[in-house]
Subunit: 426 residues, 2 copies
Amino acid sequence: MSILIKNTRILDVIEEEIKEDVDLYIEGNKISKIGKNLTCQADTLIDGRDKLVTPGFINGHTHLGMSLLRNFADDMELKTWLEDAIWPIEAKLTPEDIYWGSMLSMAEMIRSGATCFCDQYYEMDRVGDAALEIGMRGILTRGLIEDDDKDLKLEQTRALYQNYHKKGNGRLRVVPSPHAIYTCGEDYLKEIISLAKEMDGVINIHMSETIKEVEDCKKDHHMTPIQYIESIGMLDLHVIAAHCVHITEDEMDLVKNRNFYPIYNPTSNLKLASGFTPVQKMLDKGIVLGIGTDGDSSNNNQNILEEMHLASVVNKAVTMDPKAVPAMEILKMATIHGAKALGLDESIGSIEEGKLADLVIFNLNSSSFTPRNNLISALCYSAQEEDIESVLIDGEFVLKDRELTKVDYKQVLKEVQECMDQLLQR
Amino acid sequence: MSILIKNTRILDVIEEEIKEDVDLYIEGNKISKIGKNLTCQADTLIDGRDKLVTPGFINGHTHLGMSLLRNFADDMELKTWLEDAIWPIEAKLTPEDIYWGSMLSMAEMIRSGATCFCDQYYEMDRVGDAALEIGMRGILTRGLIEDDDKDLKLEQTRALYQNYHKKGNGRLRVVPSPHAIYTCGEDYLKEIISLAKEMDGVINIHMSETIKEVEDCKKDHHMTPIQYIESIGMLDLHVIAAHCVHITEDEMDLVKNRNFYPIYNPTSNLKLASGFTPVQKMLDKGIVLGIGTDGDSSNNNQNILEEMHLASVVNKAVTMDPKAVPAMEILKMATIHGAKALGLDESIGSIEEGKLADLVIFNLNSSSFTPRNNLISALCYSAQEEDIESVLIDGEFVLKDRELTKVDYKQVLKEVQECMDQLLQR
């Protein structure tokens, strides 16, 4: 399979510019050639004149199976929300619920331009199955909370690695994932660190999300959370660190030259009143950040474009500086920096010859891009998911003319509703 | 013309609930009947089973003609942005530019569910013409800045009132509009107040948007901005007060029992680094707020749904309380409270028998509304403009199956691009 997109423009996140009037040749699952007046033969020819091609966006932190709990409980105290609303119903989710919930989240992500995710949940084999079916790229991480099943959960992580790691033409990865420092004890965390070293040296964890987490850590360990994970050796790994709302300047200095990558979740941090993440400060320190939607029960959607818009504007008020966290910084966060955060920047995150063809094609004939002033600004501040015409993952269309190609969207909606109806009766 | 929507559900912002399984009968430009199993004869019958009908949303503050400057200048210091980027090009806008720019903004508003606006700009007759053509409801206000043309501008406001007030079956209103206390001297402000009294007793002004405005006012008048406008008699009027980012508690007490209505512009206040508007504090005082997009050069779109999402989540972090500014409060801000802020709540802002039929029809067969848990949450936290299937204003479809009915969207995009191309050459 080969695709030639003629006379288009691309978002180049390496050179930090829009390259005008280029052709893009995709051969198999790779970006094979970028140039002017390419004459390659292609199975599919696309007129790119009124389009803008960007790298597929990377949703660095989510809980895909939670879409069943979208709009199930909102505007509540954190403790009540978790203990009285979310956890009791979450405990009743079946593997089938998680399969369909994840499928819906993936449909939503693709429709808003995300091509890759990092998910933390359970029944992760069913999440992997959904990803294989819809054609998505992603990191599967089984959330590890220390309880009576703690050894079983490590076994599940091992089995997941054996059965799903690099499956789907290499699209899936498996990474061990302690839920947080306050749900795993020190010995359990060390076991997980060992497991991560046996695998690919990557770990995924919720980090410094709330003030309570930080205060409790100081009380229990006489250290801040990131000092604590350093003390137990976690910073020797590649750490995907969701949130980091309350990361301190000392901690920033501690991690800035390490493989430690905060994933910023703007809506979730605001909606749960976790606080304002110090994004500009982290950027000033040279820390590479990804961006994520978090799960549907704290967002309540999987629209990565909405996160980009929100991330860009809120940080200007946080710093009281309209120049803070500019559009290109956000676009990098959602592409090449997101890829780096997930350890995948050698193969995805930018439009470069030899990289995998994970691409979003925007239709510029929309109000968001009219008039065609600065398209970098337009992507960050104006763009709507409806402007996304097509999405490619691994060189294949997963969305074409706003229709999902590999699953029936209406059927997914129907299945999710049926799962929810049954869940409420359990 | 009559329309019957059968077996649907409506957002009732008065009772603060979703009413399930009702029929809605629209006769002429009015909501004629709401009830179960209505048997009225109608010209158009709509199967409402998978729909949700809401009042049309009200964009309480915008500058419609600025859509030509969308993504023209971003991520800049406020002073540089205004003086070096926006003002020089704005000065070159022709009436035709403003007509097409406004038309595009209105197209964008309708496509994202807004049926009514309050606009402040110039060449307002051309804005009125666009509104008449596309079928929108709105308040036209000629922005008054004191300079050599100050008397001419008052004349233009008078002429606008004469020619456009209540035009379009009453859809248009005209209100005098001093730009701000720092661009109009005391005498000029008093002249405008007199003019407002001659007209309908309503005035539209930018208020306490930046710290600089407040500090300058204190220096110049030894009062805070709202104390100052009280001292010159402006609070005797119905005041539509855009922004109020830096309103003080004393000022809240001063206005809470007056006809003073802040319009909250979440994206703009954040993007321009104006600050965090104390929304929950104003609500606690019983102040009625509207919500707006502001102009495209400080947003950069006219999507009111995006503002609603942003407004709801950011204020939870501002107050560090996840219960703050809940979904229904936001929905009221965008409907009945917005209507009240514009002085139009007797005729619009809620779905009630006898009110004008300004309605949005959401298609619930989308990820945003799946599963169908709390639809009030879904509207505020999940909904996307693509979920909006149809929009009625004054009993007429202005959007049907996502197509604008009264103007050719593609033509509007083309005209705006041509205007911009010419503008850049002037």
